[in-house]
């Protein structure tokens, strides 16, 4: 049985992620939405979601005394960062004139930049909003049953740049190939919203619940 704690720190709507996890959870699995450090420490799996701005994100985590909790569980158990929750795992973000993040995965978070264009030279909109294809880099249990090029739903203006290429778990093209997923030990993080990505997203969440935090294939 798994107990998955969805970290609730007031950054965005957690209804969708909780509902999607409940949809893919097995009967005895529990999905809790919480900002209590103890509940997060006791869970077998942790989901770190979030939408909004990085400064507010770090401020809220600080107010709720969650920074050390997240650093602690990030060394111990399967943790899934989603969107802002992914970006917050890195060292530093350019957002809000520059702000230090959790420093759990080495690297930075950068803006897509102005005057973004596609191959044909047409202007691209920011935020990168909508469905785009995710191309896994290397094997990972969380990609099990998710073919290369599967479509996921994105909404973001910043993207992660890991210092260590080995942490890159997927790329997606938007003017250039950016890192759309990260994997490092027991951590997995995605820029897209699996809870809004229909069957591909539900499969990834189901894989996360079945994951033991290693590179071993899932026994499904």
């Amino acid at each position: 049985m798994s107990t998955v704690a969805v970290i609730d720190y007031g950054m965005g709507n957690l209804h969708s992620i909780a509902k999607a996890l409940q949809r893919v959870a097995d009967a005895p699995d529990q999905v809790i939405v919480t900002h209590e450090g103890d509940a997060i420490r006791q869970a077998s799996h942790v989901v770190f979601p979030g939408v909004g701005a990085m400064r507010d994100c770090m401020a809220r985590l600080g107010e709720l005394a969650l920074i050390d909790v997240i650093r602690e569980v990030s060394r111990q158990k399967p943790l899934l960062g989603i969107c802002l929750g992914m970006q917050a795992l890195l060292d530093h973000s350019e957002e809000n004139d520059g702000i230090d993040c959790l420093g759990i995965i080495p690297g930075t978070v950068r803006h897509f930049g102005k005057d973004l264009t596609d191959i044909a030279g047409s202007a691209l909109k920011i935020p990168h909003m909508g469905w785009n294809q995710v191309n896994p880099v290397g094997e990972h249990p969380l990609w099990q049953g998710v073919p290369p090029g599967s479509w996921f739903y994105f909404v973001h203006s910043y993207h992660v740049c890991p210092s260590d290429k080995a942490d890159q778990a997927a790329t997606t093209d938007y003017s250039f190939p950016f890192t759309s997923a990260l994997a490092r030990d027991n951590l997995f993080a995605v820029q897209f919203h699996p809870e809004k990505s229909q069957s591909a997203g539900l499969r990834l969440l189901a894989n996360f619940l079945a994951w033991d935090g290693t590179r071993n294939p899932l026994s499904t």
Binding site: R23, G52, K125, P127, M129, G130, N132, W151, E195
Partner: protein, 259 residues
């Protein structure tokens, strides 16, 4: 690369999906939860719910509809109609909406868009613009409120720019001249607004054929296309729409289910 989105719109009144012609003459089109489920299975990229009467009772009904849909449909949901306060937004997001669309309240108080974007993030703030052409030489469109009945004198393209500057993450642009006519989008209006702003633009109003959807993207430069009646009455499925757009060279989400 990013796909262009096809968004079915469900106009909701008293818990039922309805479709009006030029915002009048309402016909019943069914149960919103059933319709949402069907669109999801067919591979809709998002769903938009518009509360067309925006009364307090209707809003409570819509909150329940959104709750039920969000529990089983895992694609982005937008809710609009009668969103006037930060509390209205919070209620819809808590019910499971991912974005809210603000229309009349933005016209009465543009600062509301800024407050909403600051509080909830631009990614969930869609500003709905209902525009009507008021002159052809030079071409000019103005903003109308109250279901297209009330002129405001505001220039539609300037207004779109202003809304984005205040924090709108997306623009839902409806041509009041075309809405419900099935003659296609107002492509010139759509292109002008899309080129004027940095955020995605959803074209709306007037779709009668699958070519109209494709035109919205290729000629109107829209990032997403929204339609109601062609999908409600099962004239076309979402699969047919995707195939048609793909055939016209528009990049769409090709497979919506896993093998």
């Amino acid at each position: 690369m990013l796909a262009k989105r096809i968004i079915p719109c469900l106009d909701v009144d008293a818990g039922r999906v309805v479709k009006g012609v030029r915002f009048l003459d309402i016909q019943d089109a069914g149960d919103p939860v059933e319709i949402a489920r069907r669109y999801d299975q067919e591979g809709a990229d998002e769903l938009t719910f518009l509360d067309i009467t925006a009364s307090a009772d209707n809003r409570d009904t819509l909150v329940h509809v959104v709750e039920r849909v969000a529990g089983e449909v895992f694609i982005p949901l937008t809710v609009g109609g009668g969103i006037r306060t930060l509390d209205d937004i919070r209620r819809m997001l808590n019910a499971g909406a991912d974005k809210v669309s603000i229309n009349t309240a933005a016209v009465h108080n543009p600062q509301f868009v800024h407050e909403a974007a600051e509080r909830f993030g631009s990614q969930c703030i869609v500003v709905a613009i209902d525009a009507k052409q008021v002159s052809t030489t030079p071409p000019r469109w103005e903003i109308f409120t109250h279901g297209g009945r009330k002129p405001t004198g505001l220039d539609a393209i300037d207004w779109a720019r202003k809304m984005v500057a205040l924090g709108a993450g997306e623009i839902l642009l409806t041509s009041m001249d075309r809405d419900g006519t099935r003659q296609g989008f107002d492509l010139e209006l759509t292109r002008r607004v899309s080129e004027a702003v940095t955020v995605p633009v959803i074209a709306s109003g007037g779709v009668g054929t699958l070519d109209h959807l494709a035109d919205g993207v290729t000629l109107g430069k829209a990032d997403a296309v929204l339609a109601a009646s062609i999908f409600h009455f099962a004239e076309y499925t979402l699969q047919q729409a995707r195939q048609h757009l793909s055939g016209r060279g528009v990049r769409v989400r090709t497979s919506t289910t896993l093998p």
